[in-house]
């Protein structure tokens, strides 16, 4: 009984502190770069490209600041979905949203060279993450209540 009570309270504690971690991480500005983005080169059949893979633990609002000339494309690494595409001539600051946590691929699909830096200005856990925390937290709390209740009956 005591073991299960300890285990469940620890997991409950972990759930609550995870939520608290997200709360404090929300406004933490993360920065990536400056990144030098080379254009994709085609030589007959051979393609040469340099890719940047960015990892974020939450869904994020990203402010990109780019210099140069080219097309910045951001893809979801797992599904290959296009997240954002922006043509840059000279200088451009724009924002886009990374829809969920995970890895994103950034390439320059233009013909000229680009330098970009990314600032992650807002970080929110996605609905799935929040649900998983709330549901598991509720389950831990319920089970803990059950254990404590049974405990009373045992003695």
């Amino acid at each position: 009984m005591r073991f299960w009570a300890a285990l469940l309270s620890a997991m409950l504690l972990l759930t609550i502190s995870s939520l608290w971690v997200y709360d404090s991480y929300e406004n933490e500005v993360g920065s990536v770069g400056p990144l030098f983005l080379q254009p994709v080169e085609h030589q007959e059949n051979v393609i040469r490209l340099s890719t940047i893979t960015v990892h974020t633990p939450t869904s994020s609002l990203v402010e990109a600041s780019c210099n140069g000339e080219g097309v910045v494309e951001v893809y979801d690494v797992i599904t290959g979905e296009l997240v954002s595409r922006k043509s840059v001539y000279g200088h451009l600051t724009y924002q886009f949203v990374l829809p969920h946590e995970g890895d994103y691929l950034i390439i320059n699909n233009g013909t000229d060279k680009l330098t970009c830096s990314l600032r992650f200005i807002k970080n929110y856990p996605t609905k799935e993450v929040q649900n998983s925390l709330y549901i598991s937290g509720s389950a831990f709390a319920l089970l803990l209540a059950l254990v404590v209740w049974r405990w009373e009956l045992d003695n």
């Binding site: 620890a10 997991m11 890719t51």
Partner: protein, 255 residues
């Protein structure tokens, strides 16, 4: 079976051990969570006629993050500390406090008592690392949870075996030092020295550093578990120590 189960329940439900479990589980989980909170990036160059950029196997950032959870210095420092404390509580403190006089006079053989105590110690040790690891990695990546098995498939098996090896080693040290020391405090101090001496002196081919480094390399394709170093320190040494402890506890009276 009910007889053994009573002893097992008794051993698992010790109050101080439960408090240590709460501490260990939540703190290990917290430092894992904090480790994940941050953005990172890496650059790759590719050339060829056909380049595969997408798919679960290309999610290197997620892979590195999840693998990093198992080789965190903070977590293993905390865990070795707690396993040593748990070992001293399980095998030595009962003798210090006099509870052992009653326990060992019950109709259980010393082997049974030793086996149950060891089992509970292993369950505590493994729960403190595996539960927070699973929980944190699944909840943090809940939106892409269905891809996680594929992303982690390259290292997770080997890494978990290494984790088990390391926990076995820590448990073995905790068990033996508790059984040969005259009191719980000394048991803890000696165990601490044995675990930390290789770390502070920077000897990386002795556990725990050996396994922590191995976990972070477990993703590479040329990494193999079946070397004398890993199997020796992770399986043979602990088993020898357990056998030795078993011989000790069988031959010795409760003092």
């Amino acid at each position: 079976m009910g007889r053994i189960y009573t002893l097992f329940r008794w051993e698992m439900n010790d109050t101080i051990k439960s408090v240590l479990l709460i501490l260990g589980l939540s703190l290990a989980g917290m430092s894992m969570k904090q480790f994940l909170m941050g953005v990172s990036y890496y650059i790759m160059f590719a050339s060829g006629t056909e380049i595969r950029l997408f798919g679960a196997f290309n999610a290197g950032g997620i892979l590195t993050s999840i693998k990093g959870l198992l080789s965190l210095d903070d977590v293993w420092t905390l865990l070795s500390f707690l396993i040593l404390l748990l070992g001293a509580l399980t095998f030595r403190y009962d003798r210090d406090s006099g509870v052992a006089f009653s326990v060992y006079s019950l109709p259980y053989s010393n082997t049974e008592i030793f086996g149950i105590k060891l089992l509970s110690l292993l369950i505590y040790g493994l729960a403190m690392i595996l539960l927070p690891f699973t929980y944190i990695s699944v909840t943090t990546y809940a939106s892409i949870a269905s891809y996680l098995p594929k992303i982690t498939s390259g290292f997770i098996g080997k890494a978990l075996v290494l984790v088990v090896f390391l926990v076995l080693y820590l448990t073995a040290v905790a068990t033996l030092t508790s059984l040969i020391s005259p009191n719980a405090f000394l048991a803890f101090m000696v165990g601490f020295a044995v675990i930390y001496a290789p770390r502070v002196t920077g000897i990386s081919n002795l556990p725990p550093q050996l396994f922590i480094n191995a976990i972070s390399r477990s993703g590479s394709s040329n990494f193999t578990l079946l070397t004398t170093q890993y199997v020796g320190w992770g399986l043979l040494v602990p088993l020898t120590i357990f056998a030795l402890s078993w011989a000790l506890i069988r031959r010795r009276d409760v003092v």
